[in-house]
Amino acid sequence: MSSIKRKNFKLGLDLFIKIIDIRFENMRSGYDLPLEKSPDTKFLLILVTLMVFLAVLSLSGSLALHDMSERWSSGLENKVTIEIPIETKDGHLLSQDTVKRETERLQIKLENHPFVKSAEILEDKDMGKLLDPWIGQDLLFSEVPLPGLIALEIKENAPTTLDDFRIDLAEMSSYANLEDHQEWLSELIRFAGILQSLSLIISVIIIGTTITAIIAAVRARMAIHKKEIELLHLIGAPDIYIAKQFRRHMSIIAFKGAILGTFLGLVSVFILMIFSQLIDSPLIPSLEISFISFLMILAFPLFFPAITSVTAYQTVLRSLKDML
């Protein structure tokens, strides 16, 4: 990266921090300890920014996965596929003609079945799209024998169960297989679940790191300002009076970091979303985030100052008890 670009970025960052600073300028009177002058304030700000950035990414990923598996399961809930395979159960190959005739015959029967809302034969070109990534457009159709596929939509209040329907299907056609996607789907959902737990673990680590850093920073500030704190005590300041000052100071740093981190995180997520939509492949699911998930991400700037606030307050109270 050129130094000019880096300079611009730094300028932008400083400007951003300034704008937030102005908002707090009016509230600042009333610090009795020179907390703003602590040397590690900038370091802490960057740390919180990074942590929030990571948290936004991890949360977005987790929420996107959640939304995606919801879409998968609801999209396939009432859908099954019937296959007329090119090979019978005892190993005979069927001709393409037989497969096609059997498929069409079965489709008509299925349409009149009380269990079925709609039955649609998947045309060659539909299948082509599905198989394209594996086989490639050129090789298709003439050479490769394809099974017959019927996409079924089941009536919502069907009078019979899927198991009853299986028996009926066996009577209608001795070749047909029923594929209810459950196995395939549950595996995908399980995989999504693993990824989600992973992002949960990452979130826990992020929060743990933030809390640890806040505790360390508070302790360092208390050590630096031991004399001033002692004086405040001597003129009658109770522990909570002192703790509140630390709380405010640390929360403001965390708030700035959280806003910055959320902003950077959301920008990255949007870029990822746009990229994922540009790649038009059925294998790579497009990244989408629901409105509610988006709101959850926006709540982050409030969540981090909140844990910071509680952590700082409790740390001061505990350390003061040890001090005197």
Partner: protein
């Protein structure tokens, strides 16, 4: 009422600074505390503002036995005590105004009241123009006046002043002594540690003398030689 009963005190593993002393200070009384350098005046003060605990003995402050006080009790008691520390102990990053305002802010007084009271007092001690100055940019005498203003701003029940006129010329010194007199007339129990014979001569208040770990008083006309036992 303030009462010391058989109080001894020493710093960690050091020699006894105060040896088994007894005295009582009546509410609203006024005392000069003197004694040679190193005799323990500042140490006695720190027992009075609960900065240190006695090694042994019992201290009763404003009618509360300090032995059974909680942490919170300590802070609320200290809010009733104004202290002028010998080394001032100002907060160097706060302006003169904010230093003096500190005890009021700790006591949650409304900012408007703070503004007018602090400005008025700073004017009175001759620091009207230095309100926004930081202590390190001020002279020793100016810093001392900030320390005094901070101690009296809350109209404490007990005022402890450790050499409060040490860095002041006599005119300003007497001006501040008048401030202490006025406060005392309004009911503040006052203890002023000083070497200044002129001041002790001019104001006819009780004199306490610390020497060699014991305390003596001029009350009961027993000039500076008798250990006080329930004098009042």
């Amino acid at each position: 009422m303030i009462k010391f009963e058989n109080v001894s005190f020493n710093y960690e593993n050091g020699p006894d600074i105060l040896k088994n002393i007894n005295f009582t200070l009546a509410p609203g009384s006024y005392h000069f505390l003197s004694g040679p350098s190193g005799s323990g005046k500042t140490s006695l003060m720190s027992l009075l503002y609960l900065g240190h605990r006695p090694t042994s003995g019992r201290i009763t402050m404003l009618s509360q036995d300090t032995k059974h006080m909680t942490r919170e009790d300590f802070f609320s008691l200290r809010q009733k005590i104004g202290v002028v520390f010998q080394n001032y102990r100002l907060l160097n990053h706060l302006t003169a105004f904010d230093n003096v305002a500190l005890p009021l802010r700790i006591q949650n007084k409304p900012e408007r009241e703070i503004k007018s009271n602090v400005s008025e007092l700073l004017d009175w001690v001759g620091l009207g123009d230095a309100q926004n100055s930081l202590p390190p940019t001020l002279s020793g005498g100016q810093q001392q006046r900030i320390a005094i203003a901070r101690a009296v701003i809350t109209r404490p029940k007990l005022l402890l002043a450790d050499e409060p006129t040490g860095n002041l010329d006599s005119e300003m010194g007497y001006r501040l002594m008048r401030l202490f007199e006025q406060l005392n007339k309004m009911g503040t129990t006052t203890v002023i540690a000083t070497h200044n014979q002129d001041i002790m001569e001019r104001y006819k208040h009780s004199k306490l003398l610390l020497d060699n770990g014991s305390i003596y008083s001029n009350s009961k006309k027993d000039l500076l030689i008798k250990t006080i036992r329930d004098v009042y």
